[in-house]
């Protein structure tokens, strides 16, 4: 969750707090309850409170989303036991000069927890502790409903101060009370009195988990896009290069959401008269050695995507770190019309290593589409491995992989080579007659037609008989060939009849796709939607219709699918 106020007090030395712009939130404003006008400057990117003087307070003008939030700050003591000094944070602080709100302040050797209602102060808690000189402590003031609590963590050893003022390793509250005196969604503030402390890393979050106080999203994105477009050009040539050296690509100071994205996209789009096209997106690594006797020569090309989260580092969210997710995605897509050959290779490795909760997902799609082409081959190889080395408590490892592969090819002109590959393995042979509009919006499945179906092929040609009785026949290879399919379907029910008529009306005059009982697909038009439906028996109809179109070849292509899946486990007894 986002912070509505966050400030690391990063600014030029001697900048007054009121002139400083926080990382997130509004401006810092002197609270009317202050005695005098405190002028607290920023020194060395911290709030130097040594000259704070008498009691003074600031509030940030950012309005919290609700009354439930947590405010926190790092406070540094100098170890002097000055009980009149102290510094801390306000929550639910009204902007009125008469104080209303909750305050926790830390001084050398004691923590004070107070509430103010219209200027009347009430001590909710006071606890002594063993202060360490020049040590940073982090104060948390949490206001969730009527539960008001305080935590304090020493930042060099990450110990927490408990309700007895003793340090302990586990997280705990110093104070926790139920109080409904101040319920306003008022401001977050900071306060000091004769302060001799430095303040840093101020944050106020809008929910009850302190992780929101420290939420930071670090994003690094590098995108390289190369586009090539051509329209009716014989040669379109565009060479773009991305040269340079990236010696350091790092995300530092991750707190909760580290994110890095590296994307390379290369696209070629050509329309019209195409003579040649090419799109190359390459990442290459080269190492050349010329000196004789050079013992080692290495060339490594690595693409990696890493997200790492560490629990418990200083300044991290002490209420728990979110999960670490890693996604590495590749898409390789090569589609072109009328290629001499088409080849597409996609190689991918995805690895996850964790001390517990092993989860590995590997997914990709490989597609080859060829126009008038002879070889259309698709090889899809996958290896997925999960291995774990032992825990005597959890002894299971799973690996699941779902894979699909498809390839299509069609040959429009050269009928001699229309069927590629195995001829006895049609891709689809559902045994039905399926009509589908090309946009996929309408579809109907019919029973197989009667065996008197016919396929008619008509040619444009010229026949002439000369005076001498010779027969001259001419046909140009470019002249039309019209293929017509005629089907008669019997015993279709009235509901199917109605659906079929609706389909005809929705696709009237438009090209549709027809897939027959052998899996062959045709594209064409129903030319006689007005044919007669005859009710032979009560509720059962006979119908004949005519379809004119052309066959979409490519039902038979090579398709090889290789798959390896391995699960191994070593159990520590």
């Amino acid at each position: 969750m986002a912070n509505f106020v966050a400030d690391t007090f990063t600014d030029t030395d001697s900048t007054a707090l009121t002139a400083h712009t926080p990382d997130t939130g509004g401006t810092w404003t002197v609270h009317g309850s202050s005695i005098g006008t405190p002028t607290v400057p920023i020194v060395s990117n911290k709030l130097d409170a040594s000259s704070w003087g008498l009691y003074g307070a600031y509030y940030n003008t950012a309005t919290p989303p609700s009354a439930d939030y947590v405010v926190a700050v790092d406070v540094q003591t100098d170890g002097t036991s000055d009980t009149t000094s102290g510094g801390g944070v306000f929550a639910r602080l009204s902007s009125s000069a008469t104080l209303t709100g909750y305050l926790v302040r830390l001084q050398a050797g004691r923590l004070f927890f107070q509430k103010f209602v219209s200027g009347t102060a009430t001590t909710l808690g006071s606890q002594a502790y063993s202060a360490v000189s020049n040590q940073d402590y982090r104060l948390y003031l949490s206001c969730i409903g009527t539960t008001i609590s305080v935590k304090c963590q020493r930042l060099d050893n990450l110990n927490w101060i408990n309700s007895s003022g003793v340090e302990q390793a586990s997280e705990t509250n110093v104070f926790s009370v139920t109080d409904s005196s101040v319920t306003l969604a008022a401001f977050a503030g900071i306060a000091g009195r004769n302060a001799i402390y430095g303040f840093d890393n101020y944050a106020a979050g809008d929910d009850g988990t302190l992780s929101s106080t420290f939420e930071e999203t670090v994003t690094s994105t590098m995108t390289f896009v190369e586009n090539l477009n051509g329209l009716e050009e014989l040669v379109v040539d565009d060479l773009s290069s991305l040269a340079g050296e990236i010696t350091f690509f790092n995300v530092e100071d991750d707190r909760e959401v580290p994110e890095t994205t590296l994307a390379l996209v290369s696209t070629v789009i050509m329309e019209g008269l195409i003579q040649g096209e090419g799109s190359t997106l390459s990442l290459s690594g080269l190492a050349v050695g010329e000196l004789f006797g050079q013992p080692e020569l290495a060339d490594t090309l690595g693409i990696s995507d890493v997200a790492t989260g560490v629990l418990g580092v200083p300044h991290s969210a002490p209420w728990g770190v979110g999960g670490v997710a890693q996604t590495l995605s590749f898409v390789s897509d090569f589609t072109t019309a009328r290629p001499a050959s088409a080849s597409n290779t996609l190689t991918l490795t995805d690895e996850a290593i964790a001390s517990y909760g092993l989860d590995s997902t590997l997914a990709f799609v490989s597609t080859v589409s060829g126009g008038i082409s002879h070889p259309v081959e698709q090889d899809l190889g996958i290896t997925q491995v999960i291995s774990r080395a032992g825990s005597e408590w959890v002894r299971s490892a799973t690996s699941s992989m779902t894979l699909s592969s498809s390839a299509n090819a069609w040959s429009g002109d050269d009928k001699c080579f229309r069927r590629l590959g195995s001829s006895n393995v049609p891709i689809a042979a559902a045994g039905d007659l399926t009509l589908t509009s090309l946009d996929g919006a309408y579809s109907i499945v019919l029973r197989n037609p009667e065996t008197d179906n016919s396929r008619r092929t008509a040619f444009d040609r010229v026949l002439r008989e000369t005076r001498g009785g010779d027969l001259i026949v001419f046909r140009d290879t470019g002249w039309n060939v019209v293929q017509t399919l005629l089907f008669t379907i019997t015993a279709i029910k009235t509901t199917t009849l109605s659906n079929l008529q609706t389909f005809f009306l929705n696709t009237l005059g438009k090209e549709i796709s027809l897939t027959d009982w052998l899996g062959e697909e045709w594209t064409g038009v129903v030319t006689r939607p007005d044919e007669t439906f005859t009710e032979d028996r009560d509720g059962y109809w006979t119908f004949a219709f005519e379809f004119e179109g052309s066959k979409a070849d490519g039902s038979f292509v090579y398709q090889n699918l290789g798959l390896t899946q391995e699960v191994s486990q070593t159990v520590v007894p």
Partner: protein, 119 residues
């Protein structure tokens, strides 16, 4: 039982006929004309006719009923009618012209009614 009432909507006459013979038909009135271009592409010209359908029923009725049908045709020729068949109401026109009674066998006639929807 098939009932024909007319003229629509002021129904003043009802013609009650027995159930038609099997092999009754229905068809869409929408049509598609195809034209093949020189480049092999196909162009279509359609007449949708609002998805109207045409029905055809055949009956074998007695002499008197056949003449009753004939009287109906004479009285309501060209007028919109309403047909009720299998609990479905169709509104349209009796389109068969000429109306013919044929196949007379021992006082029985075979008649055909063609009905085109026109809501």
């Amino acid at each position: 039982m098939l009932i024909i009432q007319g003229p629509f909507p002021q129904l003043s006459t009802a013609l009650i006929l027995p159930s038609p013979e099997e092999t009754n038909t229905q068809q869409l009135t929408s049509t598609v004309q195809t034209k093949r271009m020189m480049d092999g592409s196909l162009r279509t010209h359609v007449k949708r006719r609002n998805g109207r359908k045409k029905y055809r029923w055949e009956f074998v009725v007695g002499n008197a009923k056949a003449k009753e049908v004939e009287d109906y045709f004479i009285a309501n020729a060209g007028r919109k009618a309403q047909a009720i068949w299998q609990d479905v109401v169709y509104i349209g026109y009796l389109t068969l012209n000429p109306f013919e009674m044929g196949g007379q066998v021992a006082e029985y006639y075979r008649i055909t009614i063609e009905f085109e929807e026109r809501p």
